[in-house]
């Protein structure tokens, strides 16, 4: 990429490049989080990636040729620095805080992207877009998501809201709580998320709470869930739940929906479809 010429000229050029903001045409990016990797891929910025974390690798086998900079507990500081990235992108977390501090101390530019709320994710798409010179694509993606959300909200307004609980893990029981992008998407799709009352974003709930709250709809997005049939079969063990009695136990493939990534419009579509089918199913008759 650089023409070899007089050493001084090269030096001048290198200095100039270093002085420019890293949002150049094709910056070298290291991604430490699969959701950010997903966004970059969606923005067609694969060429900017020089290194990704282990989980991103697992999710994207097609990126096998990229350097592996380790996972949450075993980050490869040396590997990252050796790649001479222009910017390292990550999601703020306690586990990666020491790594972040070390990188910044070594003069590596680190940009953090919080991804808890729906608006955060949209901001991330736009932020990453600007970072890698794909601002236009980013704006388009965000617009598509926003449009889909509005469509879903309108559709949901036309039917009654349903009491629901969304399971993220079966044992121990973890559900979607309050304040996450997932919670917001559920609200947009017409869900009265009972998990909200537990306060936290992804709280550990008690089985007793679940049976007591008796949601009308149960959405199982746990890693063990293997499809519609499996999910219905599993939750048969709690036949007192209205969701089970009225066959409103739903399954949505978690990978796309639980990722705070670039395809939230598709996530919203799937949630909407699932909840619409729940609203349409025959009413069992008794209410709790």
């Amino acid at each position: 990429m650089r023409r070899t010429a007089h050493p001084l000229l090269v030096l001048a050029w290198a200095l100039a490049l270093a002085a420019m903001p890293a949002a150049a045409t094709s910056p070298r990016v290291v991604s430490l989080n699969p959701s950010l990797t997903a966004i970059l891929l969606a923005l067609d910025a694969r060429e900017t990636l020089v290194g990704i974390d282990s989980f991103s690798h697992r999710q994207h086998p097609e990126l096998a040729d990229l350097a592996d900079v380790g996972g949450l507990f075993d980050p490869g500081l040396e590997t990252i620095v050796a790649l001479r990235p222009d910017v390292v992108v990550l999601v703020p977390s306690e586990e990666q805080r020491p790594l972040r501090e070390r990188l910044e101390a070594l003069g590596v530019r680190v940009v953090a992207f919080e991804n808890i709320r729906f608006a955060d994710v949209l901001a991330n798409i736009e932020g990453l877009g600007r970072l890698v010179g794909r601002a236009a694509a980013a704006r388009a993606r965000v617009a598509a998501i926003v449009a889909e959300r509005e469509r879903v909200e309108r559709a949901a307004a036309a039917r009654p809201r349903v009491d629901c609980v969304v399971v993220l893990q079966r044992d121990p029981l973890y559900v979607v709580g309050a304040g996450s992008f997932l919670d917001e998407m559920l609200a947009a799709a017409g869900c009265e998320n009972r998990g909200r009352e537990l306060g936290e974003a992804y709280p550990r709930a008690g089985l007793e709470w679940l049976v007591d709250r008796a949601p009308e709809v149960l959405l199982d997005m746990s890693p063990d869930a293997a499809g519609e049939g499996d999910v219905r079969h599993y939750w048969q063990r709690w036949p007192t739940l209205p969701a089970v009695r009225r066959e409103r136990v739903l399954f949505v493939a978690p990978q796309l929906v639980t990722m705070p990534g670039p395809y939230l419009d598709e996530a919203l579509r799937r949630l909407d479809r699932a909840l619409r089918s729940a609203a349409a199913s025959p009413d069992g008759g008794e209410s709790r």
Partner: protein, 338 residues
């Protein structure tokens, strides 16, 4: 006069059984869904409405049962460890034996799928882990025939560090979802809904307790030293082997089903010695009963304190047990009998 007579044995155990019964009632009657005592009673009698019956019989009851079994296992192994190692600070958690059991279980959780091992292999794997760790601990902590308290605790610290590192390693190999699940399992969880896990724990606990009770007199004698015990007719090596087997069984079963729950094996024996003395024929069954009651209460708090949210039971036992333990330590240091 503090000598163990059959009458004293029966009296103390009767009191402790009553205490356990109270704890069980507390556990069955308490929970975040605010069922009234009347509703609980009806559910127990089989007449309750659907949700109440589910909550009382299928959620609370199995948990209370499991907590009793796990608490009994941890407390009685604590007694045996402390006596075998002649060290009041020994307990399966501190000594890394629980860690070893957890490592065995995590190995199955993370690598087992590849080897065709499912969840049913967990108790066996945990038992193997605890047995290996116990044997190694005892072997390493002895030198020149004497087991010094310091070397025991140090060895335990090292074992814990090793087990933790190995578990983190295995968990990171396992991928995001499985790795997270492993960590969640590790922090202690009594909500396993299946009843068959209770059978395994009950079986292992029963065998372990039977051995410990049969050898309780020898345990008394062993606390004075191997040679001292032999001079009174005890076959030290044989007794120690059986007791180590018993504790491995009990700890392995408890950890495989409930993850890591600390302090039970440490606090209960201490408290009991303060109150009823050091005679193991009374101490072992008392520890089982008291440990059961303690864990039932802690677990009930863990699942009720924050409304619908559940705290890990290990956090409650640590919150209650930690300060209690420091208080006991202080008493010991200032010369008051422990």
């Amino acid at each position: 006069m503090r000598v163990l007579t059959p009458l004293r044995l029966v009296r103390v155990l009767a009191v402790l059984v009553a205490m356990l019964a109270l704890a069980v009632v507390f556990g069955l009657a308490t929970g975040p869904s605010g069922l009234s005592l009347e509703e609980v009673r009806r559910a127990l009698g089989g007449a309750g409405d659907g949700a109440a019956a589910d909550i009382v019989l299928r959620i609370r009851l199995p948990r209370v049962l499991l907590a009793s079994l796990v608490g009994a296992s941890l407390a009685s192994s604590g007694v045996v460890f402390q006596s075998l190692l002649r060290n009041p600070l020994a307990d399966p958690y501190v000594l890394g034996v629980s860690g070893g059991a957890a490592l065995g279980a995590v190995a199955v959780l993370s690598l087992g799928a590849a080897a065709g091992l499912g969840a049913s292999a967990l108790p066996g794997a945990a038992f193997a882990g605890s047995a290996v760790t116990t044997a190694a601990l005892y072997g390493l902590a002895r030198s020149g025939g004497r087991v010094s308290p310091t070397s025991v605790l140090l060895t335990g610290v090292v074992f814990n560090a090793f087990a933790s590192a190995a578990i983190v390693f295995l968990a990171s190999l396992a991928g995001l979802a499985d790795g997270a699940r492993i960590f969640l399992w590790l922090i202690g969880n009594l909500s396993a809904p299946a009843f068959d896990s209770a059978w395994i724990v009950a079986l292992f606990l029963g065998c372990g307790l039977a051995v410990a009770l049969a050898l309780a007199r020898s345990l008394d004698l062993l606390t004075l030293g191997d040679e001292s015990a032999e001079q009174l007719g005890v076959d030290s090596e044989r007794v120690k082997r059986w007791l180590l087997l018993a504790t491995s069984l009990m700890v392995g079963a408890a950890v495989s089903v409930a993850g890591l729950i600390g302090f039970v094996g440490l606090i209960i024996p201490h408290l009991l010695r303060l109150v009823i003395g050091a005679d193991h024929r009374l101490l072992v069954p008392s520890a089982a009963l008291t440990g059961a009651a303690f864990l039932v209460v802690c677990d009930t708090i863990a699942r009720t304190l924050l409304g619908g949210r559940e705290l890990p039971v290990g956090a409650i036992t640590a919150l209650v047990g930690g300060p209690l333990f420091l208080w006991l330590l202080r008493r010991q240091q200032t010369g008051v009998a422990v």
